[in-house]
């Protein structure tokens, strides 16, 4: 399997996952706002923070917060993290993978992409939006399902899973970070019901609410939610679960060891964190470091498996066999 091809599979998978999560958080935010009293509602800007593109957003002129944020997150071609850009990039990557992807998956993605572009302007109108974004999530899950159901478990599938899980771990950590920073302090008894509502919305933005209830049978509490979303090993959007998946896939690759070692360190780091005791600042610092770790995992994968710039000078490649990754040439 070509190095360039697995890189494209990896990015296809990340962009699909990113698009799905973006559609999800917009819908959940809309629902949350309906449940909160006007004066204390956090509004729409936290979503821009989650996407990590605040500077790009602030550079534009704004009138109506909701419309502008939704436009920025869903439809803005200049926002590299928007739903629009993610789908565009997913399709561009898929286009280079026609000989790798199951034909049905490509056909679905292609059809979904053109449908999305066609309906984008009407789909984001407030009345249509919930359904439109829900369809985005549904379509992307359908495509993931076809990929999972029809791709051989070879290197390209490995990188599909790697991309998906690193993106997921990253997104879950962002959502936890930004949301918990904006949550209302539960200092007064009147506000307590609203705290619960907000933590519930955090869970829902990750489709985690039902699974959380199944696993944690008490009132929705900050400490339990953090534990569940960061360290649960059974829920597929929890950071720890995603990292377990990454490890599993890396072990199927001949040259995955250095990244597996790094991954072990990340998991030890996560296991040590005293989540319950962390205050907001402590949690933020913890997640900051977690994200750096996730980014390093990506860099490790890229360094080993993705294409290097072309060779300079004359090199001897012929001894470069299946077992000699340690003698890899410096390109």
């Amino acid at each position: 399997m070509l190095a360039r091809v697995v890189e494209n599979v990896y990015w296809l998978s990340r962009y699909m996952e990113r698009a799905e999560n973006t559609a999800r958080i917009i819908n959940v935010n809309a629902h949350l706002l309906l449940d909160l009293p006007k004066g204390i509602a956090p509004g729409w800007l936290p979503l821009v923070d989650i996407s990590g593109n605040r500077a790009e957003f602030d550079a534009k002129s704004h009138k109506l917060e909701e419309r502008d944020v939704v436009q920025f997150l869903a439809a803005d071609p200049e926002n590299p993290g928007s739903l629009y850009s993610s789908l565009q990039m997913a399709r561009e990557n898929a286009r280079t993978l026609r000989e790798i992807l199951p034909t049905e998956a490509w056909e679905m993605l292609n059809e979904f992409h053109s449908e999305f572009m066609r309906e984008l302007s009407t789909g984001l109108a407030k009345r249509a939006r919930f359904r439109f974004l829900n369809d985005v999530v549904g379509n992307l899950q359908k495509i993931s399902g076809v990929l999972d159901g029809t791709m051989s478990r070879n290197a390209s599938h490995t990188f599909l899973i790697l991309g998906r899980n690193l993106e997921r771990a990253d997104m879950t950590s962002r959502i936890v970070d930004v949301r918990s920073a904006q949550l209302l302090p539960a200092e007064t008894p009147e506000l307590r019901p609203f705290e619960t509502v907000q933590w519930m919305s955090v869970l829902k933005s990750l489709s985690a609410y039902q699974m959380y209830r199944g696993a944690v049978r008490s009132r929705v509490r900050r400490a339990d939610v953090l534990e569940f979303l960061l360290r649960n090993r059974q829920f597929p959007r929890a950071c720890m679960f995603c990292l377990d998946q990454v490890e599993h896939e890396l072990k199927s690759l001949q040259r995955g060891e250095p990244v597996v070692d790094r991954l072990d360190a990340v998991r030890r780091f996560m296991a040590r964190a005293p989540l319950e005791a962390l205050d907001q600042a402590g949690l933020h610092a913890f997640i900051d470091r977690l994200q750096l770790h996730i980014n390093e995992l990506h860099n490790g994968i890229a360094r080993i498996f993705f294409p290097k710039p072309q060779i300079s000078g004359v090199q001897q490649l012929s001894q470069q066999g299946q077992t000699q990754s340690q003698t890899r040439l410096a390109f």
Binding site: L2, R4, R98, S114, Q316, L317, G321, S325
Partner: protein, 483 residues
Amino acid sequence: MKANWSTYPTAGLHDELVGPGGGARAAARALLGYLTELGGTEIAVRQQAAEMAIRAMGITFTVYHEQDGSIDRAWPLDIIPRTISRKEWQRIEKGLIQRAAALNLFIDDVYHEQRFIREGRMPREIIHTSKNFRASCMGVKPPLGIWAHICGSDLIRDRDGTVYVLEDNLRVPSGVSYMLENRQVIKRVFPELFESSTILPVDDYPSQLFDMLASLSPRKGETPEVVVLTPGIYNSAYFEHSYLARQMGCELVEGRDLAVDSSDCVYMQTVDGWSRVDVIYRRIDDDFLDPEAFRDDSTLGVPGLMRAWKKGNVALANAPGAGVADDKLVYTYVPDMIKYYLGEDAILENVPSFRCSEPDQLSHVLANLHELVVKPVDGSGGYGMLMGPSSSKSERAQFAKALKANPRSFVAQPVITLSTVPTLVGDLIEPRHVDLRPFILSGPQTSVTTGGLTRVALRKGSLVVNSSQGGGSKDTWIVDTEA
């Protein structure tokens, strides 16, 4: 509305399906009867279904547009197939095999003894002034002595029914994937017809192509690593490159995926490290293949690839330099080549051509520009031609100037009124001109696709069938009328 073939215009034309007077030709009898039953409205509905299938299957071609850069367009397919009887096809097939054999012997001769030239069959300058002659290929011995492993020859039929070879594409001929996909779509649209008549299948091309490529591998006894080399996703034929790689189960590589090491072997960069490559089906022009050997500004190619090929460490299909026989002036000598190398008469005729390189022929061409087609010898895609009868005075003056300045660069031919096939225009059926591009694979055996890609000029009266210039395509049926 019922399709009415008796009012279908065939006067002054040769229609592939409808004979003079509106009767069906033998190979088209079942098809026309079926279309008559269906009626225009229902045919139009099926056409829409075909177009939806094409969009959903992502069958596209890329056109370069000045404002928008490169755009993916849905592949244009007209659902009314073009039919040829099996009996006629057998003769054409024989002719194509004969032609490919002679062309390969000629190319091998050009890069070795040049007997054809030394014995005075062709002036030496023609070779040395051919844009696609590669001096660096002199003396190279590719496996089996074959240079043009994949050849796409364009066939046309004149109004008197004669089939001519219009040109031979020996560099990187494209279109075969559309031939295969057209059949997939048409099977979805007209399943009934495939049940009731004997239409010969086309779909074993990818496995034949793979077997031919694998047979070129320099490492005998090992499973050959065959790859398809593409310029990338912005190339107009990228769909085809990817399609063929997928159908053959090969890697689709770009130049940047490959490297040549100090022992002149070719490797590709895989997820497990570098891995040896044996055969490259390259879809990049010679010029861009190896920046060390040809254009040094090429970023598409692989430095050192020519070294590896000359040493016999990797096979390239088609071989570099094969395009020397692709030149339209060289084309005019193909019947002589067949005679010279095979001792046979050509089964398929060339379009009568004037060599502007020869003074008496040039003056004839200059005097008759208004009724001739003038073509650049190295052109493709239907660009840069003069269509005499429809040309303006100033266009003719321009061409006359160019011809006198550079006679070697042009050939001229009489205008051939290409045969027609009924084609859907709105919900009416009208004749449109077509050509046919079959593909010939030369390896240990020579094989020809069953039929080929029929291209159709969608504009009324137009003779330009190229998809980059508004041409469409049709499924091509070789029909066994005796079965």
